[in-house]
Symmetry: C2
Subunit: 332 residues, 2 copies
Amino acid sequence: MSVTIKEVAERAGVSVATASRALSGGRGVRPANRERVLRAARELEYEPNAVAAALRSRTTNSVGIVVPRISNPFFATLVEAVEREAARGGRGLLLSTSRYDPEVEAGQLKSLLDRRVDALIAVPCHSERSRAAIEAAGQRVPTVQLDLCLDGGGGSWVGVDSEAGILSAVEHLVGAGARTLAYVGSEPTDSSAQARLDGYRGAAPLCPGGTDRVLLGDFSLEWGHRAARRLLENRRELPEGIVCGNDTIALGVLRELARNGVDVPGRVMVTGFDDIPFAELAEPPLTTVRQPLEQLAAEAVRTLATRLGGGEEPHRRVAIAPELVVRGSTRA
Amino acid sequence: MSVTIKEVAERAGVSVATASRALSGGRGVRPANRERVLRAARELEYEPNAVAAALRSRTTNSVGIVVPRISNPFFATLVEAVEREAARGGRGLLLSTSRYDPEVEAGQLKSLLDRRVDALIAVPCHSERSRAAIEAAGQRVPTVQLDLCLDGGGGSWVGVDSEAGILSAVEHLVGAGARTLAYVGSEPTDSSAQARLDGYRGAAPLCPGGTDRVLLGDFSLEWGHRAARRLLENRRELPEGIVCGNDTIALGVLRELARNGVDVPGRVMVTGFDDIPFAELAEPPLTTVRQPLEQLAAEAVRTLATRLGGGEEPHRRVAIAPELVVRGSTRA
DNA sequence: GTGAAAGCGCTAACAC
DNA sequence: GTGTTAGCGCTTTCAC
């Protein structure tokens, strides 16, 4: 069997209590004893049992995260940033995916709670049907919604200010000379889709010409293709600027425009949202609204850390302003 | 405080032992009692404490995974597949990243071991300097190397048959009429880079013409750009087929060729390796060797499950044959 | 500053 | 089938 703290204590000639204190920080232990314990531990190749420590101290030093999927580069980058941030605080990250299924999501949350994570980060996969499980989790441990949020608020949330992001895209397009605009986005099934659509509706009046073409589907490349084809049906009415709900859609739109010989950004300018890695690899490179992922992750972890540290700030809602990244798909 | 199994037992009018048995499968418990326990648990909203169970039963039902990074879509997809596979077996996934730093990697492995994961999956970030930590981990729990492996073997490994993959790319290019080839890859700093390079050297003789141009850098887009520029220096000697060590490099090569007005696949054909999501979005879409990620993940978890189940197959090395995906960057 | 002792909540022997 | 009992390895009072 593996070496326990008891053996370390014996070898160091102290009690387990002192050994424990020495091994965890060493505060309140005479330096000489501290050294002896540390040496004994090293010599015995002692490996602390975090499970036992967790049972007794009632903290696992771990946080759980539930995202719809990881293969989506957006969530992947988010998870990576959270992992780094958590590791920095000595915490482990328990990862699970909901696959966009609220029932799976509920099960994953329960499992994480059973494992006694100290805190939870969740990207709710549905703005309504995720509610029960996420609120229940929030009753037990500090929980923060990341990126997406439940309808009508409730609980802590860290995300991006979508309206401001879309606004900056619209301003940029109008400033670059677009006189007519269209929006290609997703049906508002989640909070981001909703906020981006709202953002477009709010910002559209800045444009002098027609802005009433709003095509809603989902956040996919295929939808981008189809929406572009629809806009191309009447070549004369092709808008001068197309605001897309995310980069994937924008990539689909760009592609379809290229296939049809439409000059981008000459005839039509296109913007995306997220700044996924491929955005700058597209032809032409995509002007887009960059999600400040590192900041989001850091803020989410900070929110939890505050609450773990005993801070009683029950409902913290943080919307970070995103930044427009201008590339070749729009004129400067 | 939260409800314990003791209270559930009391309410159900049985001993904690019976409650425990009923709650975990219910084998060897009279159905009537089982029902009463389950009902009591439901009524009290009992939440089992997996930490306590883990301490006593010496299994945490969790596996740890260490990858260089998650924002790389290749690893992200791998992690996602592993997560799904682990969740299917009721296991949690503790995720950490090494950021390509063997010291960080060693620390992460130690931390996962302290947390008493039942098994480990690691993508060694360095074929030499990862050895000590990974071998040490392998002494304590079933450990499998995924994708990359340590130099000279040792331990279980699940990955792709890189040689076979490169071979299929070369055969395809030659079959499509390429008479001269070049290889643009990474310096063999990791096992995949090495195997792909070996694969090219082994397969090159299949091509009738010159195949001795081998450019080695790293697995980046920038290196693809630079390598392509180098090949373009003497336009006349531009090879008819360029085999790239991964998709990212291939994307860089494609881009540079396009900028210089070289017709792909007319004048030059290009192949990649991995089949990252963007491969099919490139212009032209990239012919590439697809990594069977789901299979890799499933096989890795299966390898561990076998060992956890008591199977004593110490050194399982599984190389899965990848599949060539033919797209527009080569002629059919 | 240190030690003795009491659990954290659960499972696994071992009796019955 | 069921109950009693004894810990898993650690941290944390509480005395000294």
